[in-house]
């Protein structure tokens, strides 16, 4: 495979095809529609399933059905569409069937707009649907990672029998950059579907895919089993990137596109003599608690940068537990934080905590 110039939405759709995705169900919504369009062309030509559903509600329930049959299945959408999927996501979690959901986030709340945002963090990381469930949430920051995370998402979903969310944003979905697609993996033949799947009870006891446990003690036992699974996921699946944190006195904590912008910002800050690094959670759930706590032990201050009003901030504050000052810089409504703005916030924090002693004199950033 070679590096190609790829649009994010097309790249993750093609990555899913190459990861052996057997069925795609979706509904058009900007800024992810190119993924649906790519699947509309690719899946039928490979003899696989593509259905444009009547709504995101129907799309996620089609995913639920195909997942219950043991097929590799996905959907993709953007924030308002993902809100409609919350019912189905809860049922999928409550039935422990594997499914992949890509959310190309846009500005909200409500209809909002179609510009890049990260304002679905709480919805996707903390649940969103009803009940005590969690999802594995991957946060790509480049088109290459969007590809890699989509492939990984299928494997994680099946390994843990859980929902895996790839939490991208309109910027990643719409941008074109060089990336390499994975080799084509043929879909698993139907004869090799999981033992729990609804494949017809030929010569075996019947299978049931359900999220109902009417007896409270049974529901509680099920919940305890889910929580144990989530603990095992937390122990095994944390992924995090630390960028120039070795000597850092200040660290930016950011995910996805915001982390990418933060890296640009800290390059400039380092040129000015500030020892700054970036901690980028790649898995938002499980959250990189240990890495962040260790970093908080050795830096003087943390700056959380997000394209929302401070959603991951709550997790950072929880983990850091006032070991060091935690400050926040965010833009909302689909406005991207510019590296200069992030740089200004870094300098402000550095001055506040006395980490800017060796740095170049403070300069106002022109508006």
């Amino acid at each position: 495979m070679a590096v190609e110039l790829l649009k994010g939405n097309v790249a993750f759709a093609e990555a899913a095809v190459r990861a052996g995705c057997e069925a795609y169900f979706g509904y058009p919504i900007t800024p992810q529609t190119e993924a649906l369009e790519h699947m509309a062309k690719r899946m039928p030509e490979l003899g696989r399933v593509f259905v444009q559903a009547e709504s995101e509600v129907a799309a996620i329930n089609m995913v639920y059905g195909a997942a219950a049959a043991g097929a590799r299945v996905m959907t993709s959408s953007s924030s308002p569409g993902v809100s409609l999927m919350m019912e189905g996501i809860s049922y999928i979690a409550g039935s422990e069937v594997p499914a992949v959901v890509v959310d190309v986030m846009r500005g909200g709340p409500g209809l909002g707009n179609i510009a890049p945002a990260q304002c679905d963090y709480l919805q996707m990381v903390k649940g969103g649907g009803h009940g005590d469930y969690r999802s594995i949430v991957l946060a790509p920051s480049t088109v290459q990672e969007l590809i890699d995370h989509t492939v990984l998402a299928f494997d994680l979903a099946e390994a843990w029998r859980t929902i895996v969310v790839v939490l991208a944003d309109g910027s990643l979905g719409q941008m074109m950059e060089g990336a390499e697609l994975p080799p084509m993996r043929p879909p698993r033949p139907p004869s090799e579907r999981a033992a729990w799947a609804l494949t017809g009870a030929i010569g075996r006891p019947t299978n049931l895919v359900s999220s109902i446990h009417l007896e409270p003690s049974e529901e509680e036992a099920f919940n305890q089993r889910l929580q144990a699974k989530y603990a095992a996921i937390e122990a095994a699946e944390v992924r995090v990137e630390e960028h120039l944190t070795g000597d850092a006195r200040i660290a930016v904590v950011a995910f996805g596109t915001a982390a990418r912008l933060a890296k640009t910002a800290i390059a400039a800050a380092r040129d000015d003599g500030l020892a700054v690094g970036v901690l980028r959670p790649i898995t938002l759930d499980p959250f990189p608690t240990a890495a962040l706590r260790a970093l908080a032990e050795r830096v003087d201050g943390l700056l959380v940068v997000e394209m929302n009003a401070g959603q991951m901030l709550q997790d950072v504050q929880r983990v850091v537990a006032e070991r060091v000052p935690v400050r926040f810089f965010g833009r909302t409504g689909g406005v991207m934080p510019m590296p200069e703005e992030i740089g200004a916030a870094i300098r402000e924090l550095a001055h506040e905590v006395g980490a800017a002693d060796d740095a170049a004199p403070w300069q106002e950033v022109p508006a």
Partner: protein
Amino acid sequence: MTTAPLATTPVYERPDALTDVPTHYCPGCTHGIAHRLIAEVIDELGVRETTIGVASVGCSVFAYRYFATDFAQAAHGRAPAMATGLKRVSPERLVFTYQGDGDLASIGAAEILHAAARGEAITVFFLNNATYGMTGGQMAPTSLIGQKTTSSPLGRDAASQGSPIRMSELIAQLDGAAYVVRRSLHDVVQIKRAKKAIREAFEVQQRGLGFAMVELLSSCPTNWGMAPDEALGWIRDAMVPAYPLGDFKVPEGLRPARKGAHA
């Protein structure tokens, strides 16, 4: 011993496609009849091991307990979408949904209409008892004008609460729907006709002819506040006039041509 065994002919047995589990349905409710008819047809077609059912939300939420086939439990109204997912990735399996009127005609109206419009190769059993049974007898989209329910205590008023939806007639208009009929479970003759329709609805799927739905007028003695026989009479006298029995769409060639039958 040369005594000849007592000659016995079984006249009533549990179909293999039903589990040996007492149902939770109220005395006099026709869900049990519908379950049995579907199970008998599954046995007769020899498809128990290749059929996947999708239960809905409402009184039939526990349908999966009673059918000895693979089963999924869908969210309220979403059984046709879930069945779409199941069928599309398992085209060689028979997939059926079992839904009540609140599930199919209210919260799941979009899902059933679009599954039919797409011509999904699934079989839908639609139990219409004109009320929400599981939650205690609220007004359903199929409740009759004037019907007293816990949420239409003065009787359903068309001006403020709308009119009953005739789903079979609505769905039969869609090109994707191949087989749409309405039957009733209020007496033996109707029950026999219902069974034949259930069989045809599975055959439509087996032959790849498209979407099939059998609407079954059903009783809810508990929430109607009637004795079981009275409730059957109410289906006949009140429901059938509002929901005429008959074939709304039957694919050509499904039934053998009868000699002397008018075209």
